[in-house]
Symmetry: C2
Amino acid sequence: MNLSHENLDDIFHPRSVALVGITTSNPGHWTRGFLEGYLKFDFPSQGKLYLVNPRGGTVEGFKVFQNIQDIPDTLDFVVGLVPSRGAPQLIEEAAAKGVKCIHFCTAGFSEIDDQEGKELESELLLAARKHHVRIIGPNCLGVYCPESRMSFSELFPRESGSVSFISQSGGNSNYLIRQAALRGIRFSKVISFGNACDLNESDFLEYLADDPKTKIITMYLEGIKDGDRFHRALKYAAEKKTVVLLKGGTTPAGARAVMGHTASLAGSHDIWESLCRQVGAIQVQNLDEMIDVLVTLTLLPAPAGRRALLFGGGGGSSVIVADVFEKRGMILPQVPKQVIKELREFSQAAGNFFNNPIDYSQSMDPANVKRALEILLRWGQFDFIVNFMVPGQSTRAGRFTDRLFNFDGISKPVAVVIPPTFDPAEGNSMFESINSYAVDGFPVYFSFDSAANAINLVLAYYEKMSIRQGS
Amino acid sequence: MNLSHENLDDIFHPRSVALVGITTSNPGHWTRGFLEGYLKFDFPSQGKLYLVNPRGGTVEGFKVFQNIQDIPDTLDFVVGLVPSRGAPQLIEEAAAKGVKCIHFCTAGFSEIDDQEGKELESELLLAARKHHVRIIGPNCLGVYCPESRMSFSELFPRESGSVSFISQSGGNSNYLIRQAALRGIRFSKVISFGNACDLNESDFLEYLADDPKTKIITMYLEGIKDGDRFHRALKYAAEKKTVVLLKGGTTPAGARAVMGHTASLAGSHDIWESLCRQVGAIQVQNLDEMIDVLVTLTLLPAPAGRRALLFGGGGGSSVIVADVFEKRGMILPQVPKQVIKELREFSQAAGNFFNNPIDYSQSMDPANVKRALEILLRWGQFDFIVNFMVPGQSTRAGRFTDRLFNFDGISKPVAVVIPPTFDPAEGNSMFESINSYAVDGFPVYFSFDSAANAINLVLAYYEKMSIRQGS
C-alpha cells in the first residue's frame, strides 16, 4: 500500500495536531520539547493544537484531554509520546478521530535486542494497516516543517528554505538543523523517521523529489527496507533534485551500532559508493561534511570552473592553503607579473606575496584590500575567490581579524574560511565574524581542507550534471 | 662552519638580550610584541634586557640606548628589528659587543622577488661570517624558550614542556603554540627561522635531537638548504626522539607560495612521504593535524593495542563514530552478552545500546555512568577509551553536556572528543568542558575523524618503533 503524494503532502500540512502522552507534571521532561516547538512556531495561529494525558489538567494554558476521544474535533496528525506498550491502542483511537498519520516518538521496539520489542513493532504495523493509518517511526523525532509551523524543537529556524532532510536518527537531525542554521542553511522539510516500520526512506524520497519547495534532498540513512525500490527512488530523485547522502553503518562496527539504533540492515561501503556514483548523488562521510556541501550548494553561486583565487592573510597559512586546494583538484592560476606590479605599488613589500595565494597579511587596510580586489577582478582569470582568515597567527592580543571588506559588488563567487580558535581572547570576535558572513549569505568553512573538499565535491557534481545535459 | 651543540645551546640561555630597532613612539607597533613577551616572562629577573633605538628616550621604564655600542655590558643575543638595509651594519656593531647570535625579524630579503633583496641577504651572510656571528632568519620571529624566559609573544604559556618546534613560518609558530596551549601542550623550545640564510632546519634538528629537555620534535618546513645533511639529521633525530613533520609547498601552487614566503625550494609530496616513512617520522598535512598528533603523543598514555571502547551519547553519533574509527584501522571489540545484561539492569532500554559504541545517551546520571564504566573495566578487553560528547543533538535549550565523570582512577587511556558548536547557547559551556578536560591532562579532539586519524598515526608510529626494538 503506497500512500499517494497528495496524502503524504497532508502530513506536512495538518489542520489539527495532538501531542498524546505529553507529561503534565514535569516541565523538564523531554516530551515537553514538542510543545515548546509547536508554540514557538505559533502553530495555534493557523491550526488546532491538542494535548492528551490520562491525568488531565492544564499545561501552558492548554486544557489537557484525558483521552483522545474527548477532543471535540477531527485530528489530522498525532505525535505519539506514549509508552511503547500503549502504542497499538493509540492507533485505533486516533483512527476513530480521522487521523491519517501518527508519528511515534516512542522507543522500545525492534531496536531493542529482545523478542518483545520486535513483536510490539509487528503489532503496531498490523494495527496501522487495519485502521488505514500511516506511521512515522517509531523511535524518532518526526516532522519539522517551518512553513506549516510544525517543529519538534523550539531551537530551529522559523524561516523556510530549499533543503529537505530525511534522517533515520533524531540526534543527527537536531545536530544538522542547528549547526547548519548557524551557517545560513534553511529547511523546507525534515523527517526523522527512526525504525521505519511503515513509511520509509523511499516514501519520503519520492515525495521530496516531486515537492516544489525542495531543491536539495539530503539524507542520513542507516539501512533500507527495500533495495530495489530505494534504488529506483534515488535515481528518480537525483534526476530531479540535488541529492546528498550520508550512509551510517558501512563498517562492521558501524553496522552493529545500526542494529542497536534503528534495527536496520546496513550494507557495505562499496555498494553505497557505486550506487551514489551511478545515480549522481553526492556522498558524504559525516554530518559536518554534509553541512559543508549544503553550504556550498546553497550559498556559493556555481563557479564556472575550478580556477580558485586564494586571498587571505599569513605566509605559512598561504603555503598550506595552496597545497590543500591543489591536492583537492582546484586550479590556482598564476597572477601575471603586471598585475603583481600593480599590487606592489600600494602595499609593503615585506610579508606579502601575490602569486595566488594573495597574502595581504596585516599590512593592508580595508581601502587597499578593496583596491587589490579590483585589480585582481580586472585581470579576472579565476572562477571563484576563497578568502581565508586564520586566528591566532599574531604575537599580540587583540580582536580576531575584523571583517576587512564585505565583497559587495564582487562579480565572482566568494567562499570564506575561518578556522575556529578556542582562545577566549579571540573566540568571541571570531564567532561574530563567522556569523556576520553567514548572515550576509556567504558560505563559511572551518578549515582549508573542509572547504576544498566540499567545493571539489560540488564542482564534481556540477561537472557530471553538465556532461549529462550535454549528452 | 658548524656551530657546536654547546654554542647553539647558548642561544637558548642568554644572559643579556637587546631588542634593537624597537619602536619608541607607537605602543601598537608590532616590534613592541617582543618587549611584551620578554616582560611578561620576566626575563629581567634572570638576565639583562636592553632596548635600542636611535631616538633614545624611555619605553616601559627602560632607558632606550641610541646605539648598541652605548650599552655598558656585553651582549649574548640580539633581536634585530631594524629595517633590512640596516641589518648588515647591526651585525658588525653587535659582534663588537660580544654577540654570538642575532635573530633578524626583519623581512625584505630573498623572499622578495627582486634582485635587491637577494643581494642584501648575501651581504648579511657575508657580514655574519666575517664577524663570527650566527643568524636566525631573516624574516621570522626567532626564539621562544619559556625555561629561559625568552618569548616573542606575551600570549604563550609560561610553563615549559617536552615539545620543541622548528618552524619556517612565524604565523604558523604563533598558531601552533597558541592553539596547542589551549589543549594542554607545553613547549621546551620553538624556533621560527624564516629564510634560514645561516642557521637552518638541520642545525636546529641536530641540536634538539641531543637536547635532554626535548622529547618530541615537530617541524613546519617549506624547503631545505642541504638535502643530504637534512636526511642525515632527520634520521639521527628520529632515532633519538619522536619527530613530527609538516612539509608546506608539496604542490606546484604551494611551492610557488613557498618561493614568495621564505624563498625555499619545496620538493614533491612523494619525496617527503618516503623520507618520513624511511626514517620513522610522523608526517602530517596541516597544523591542526599536527596538534592532534602532539596531543596524542603527550596526553594519551600509550595504548597496548588498537582495541577502542567508544563511549558516548547519541544513537546517530554512535553509528558515525563507529564507522570512522573502524575505517581508520581501530578494532572495536564486541561487548559480551553478559556484560550488556549487567549494563541493562540499571539503564533505560530505550535510546541506549551497548555493543561498542556504548551509547549512554541522556538517560544515565553520573553515578550510573561510573557504574557502567566499572562493569566495562572489569571486562576490560579493550586498550583505550574514547569518550565522545556531541553538542546540538538535543531538541531543547540548555547547557552543553556537563562533564559527567572525571575518569579518576580509570586504568585505561582515555581520549575525549567534543565537536565544537557555534551555537551561542551551548558554545560557552562547550568551551568550559573542553578546557576542563584539557586542564586535567586529557587529550581533547574536535571531531571523530581527527581523533581517529591522530590516534591511528601515533599507534602506527608506536607499532613501527616496537618492531624496530624487537628486530
